[in-house]
Each structure stands twice: as C-alpha cells, then as structure tokens.
Amino acid sequence: MFWFFAGCAVSGALLMAILPRLVQSAFSLALALFGIAGLYWTLGADFLGGVQLLVYVGGINILFLYGIMLTPKETVRWRAATLIFPGFLCVVPIAVLLHLCWRGLEAATGGGLDPATLPAPAATTETLGHWFLDRRRYLVPFEFASVVLLMALVGSVYLARRRKES
C-alpha cells in the first residue's frame, strides 16, 4: 500500500515538473496530491487524508484548472540552457539531504523509529475535533485561520474582478 501511494506521489510530482503542457501538469499535480493523501492514510492520519483529498484534489486543483482556462495556452520546450541552473539547484540539495537521511536520521532520533514498536493507529477525527475547540490547545489558531480564510477569499474576489475603467 505504501509503495502504491508513494509511486503515485513521486510519479505525479515528476510528471508535473517535466510535462510541457499546463493542463497535463495540473492533472499530474492531482495524482501527486492523491498520493500524498494516501501516504497520510498509511501514517494513520485518516482525517488529514480526507482533508487533503477534499481541499487539494477537489478544491485547489480545480482552482488551478480555472486559472489555466482563463489564461493563454503555451507549450514549453526544454532546452539545456534552461535546465542546467535549476537542475543544479535541485541535484545538490537532494544529494545532501539523502546523504543526511541515510547517515544520521536513525542515529540522531534514537528509539521510537521502529514501526513494529509504534502504537497501532486509532481513529483521529474525534481527538482532532476536541483539540480544535479546546482553548488550551488550538482554539485561538483555529479562529485565526477562519479569519485569515475569510480575508483571503474577500481579497481574492476583489483582486480578480474586472475593473470597469481599464
């Protein structure tokens, strides 16, 4: 199950990065985000996987498709000159990161990394709901997040409307 979702995520992200057409990239992004939702499920985060599927695959990706439909179509031709600097920018950090992962991660974090010793994942939705509305935990950030969302939606409607005088 892990390998299926990991394959979805990595191949979707890779296709999104290299495909020449914007619409193809948008659908590859949907595949990548679905893979991430599945990885959340394999980590026992059932509520978060559902939220990821609803908000990202169902919401943000549709928003991107609308943005693509409202802007002109263009096709990218990859050339060596446009690939060298970004490729270099990516290859060096990935080498360093993978090196650090294999060398130091398990030693640095000690115990608790063996999946066999972890507690079995339980349903998280009820606990998360209690935590969201507990004022000693996450009530204030939760209310701030709703205010931020409201401001972002009003602001984006204001930004995206057509101005009469122009």
């Binding site: 892990f2 992200a13 890779l14 999104m16 990065a17 914007l22 990548a32 985000l33 991430i36 990885l39 980590l43 985060a45 978060l48 939220v51 990821q52 908000v55 990202y56 919401g59 928003l63 991107f64 609308y66 943005g67 693509i68 409202l70 802007t71 002109p72 990218v76 600097f85 970004p86 920018l89 990516c90 990935i94 990161l97 992962c101 991660l105 398990e106 974090t109 608790g112 990394l113 063996d114 999946p115 972890l118 507690p119 994942p121 998280t124 998360l128 969201f132 996450y138 931020v148 969302l149 972002a152 939606l153 602001g155 984006s156 409607v157 204001y158 930004l159 995206a160 101005r163 122009s166």
Partner: protein, 100 residues
C-alpha cells in the same frame, strides 16, 4: 515503512517544487511548485509526529498548512488573473512595473 522512506519522498517533493518554481516562467507553474513544497512540509510534520510516538500535533500543523495553502492559492490566482488583464502575458519575467 520507516521514517526514512517518508523523509525521502518529502525531499523529492520539495526539490521538484523548487525545480518547478525556478525552471518555469509561467506564473501558474510557480504556484503549483509552491503547492508541492507545502505538501512536502506537511508530510514531514505528519511522518515525524507518527514516528515519535503517535502525537497528533503534527497532524494539527498539517491541517493549518492546508488551510493557508488554500488561502494562498486563491489570492495568488486572483493576482495572476489581474496581472494577465494588465499585461497580456503570464510570463513572470514580463511585468516590470506595478502601475501604468
């Protein structure tokens, strides 16, 4: 699956996001790269919280990341559309000024 698998997937996501943001000149691609980077960070939060003993705080942080990513995508697409009405191109290197 161990923590290293998830961290490697997260690193691949982050770097493909950075690659997309740097290599493409289309504004919508830049936003998609930013979404990949958000997902990498959220996956790291959940994976580390899980392998540190099943704490749910990591999932809370990921929920907030998703909330902010939704707000960011809405505002940024509004800006891109307005920029497209202003300068008839969504190449991010084309607009040189903020006013007429």
């Amino acid at each position: 699956m161990s923590l290293v698998h998830y961290v490697v997937i997260s690193a691949v996501f982050f770097l493909l996001g950075v690659f997309t943001m740097v290599a493409r000149r289309n504004a919508i691609y830049v936003l998609m790269g930013a979404e990949l980077i958000f997902n990498a960070a959220a996956l790291n939060f959940v994976a580390f919280a899980r392998f540190r003993g099943g704490d749910l705080s990591g999932q809370m942080f990921s929920v907030f990341i998703i909330i902010l990513a939704a707000a960011e995508a809405a505002v940024a697409l509004g800006i891109v559309l307005q920029l497209f009405h202003h300068v008839p191109s969504i190449d991010i290197t084309k607009p040189q000024t903020l006013s007429d």
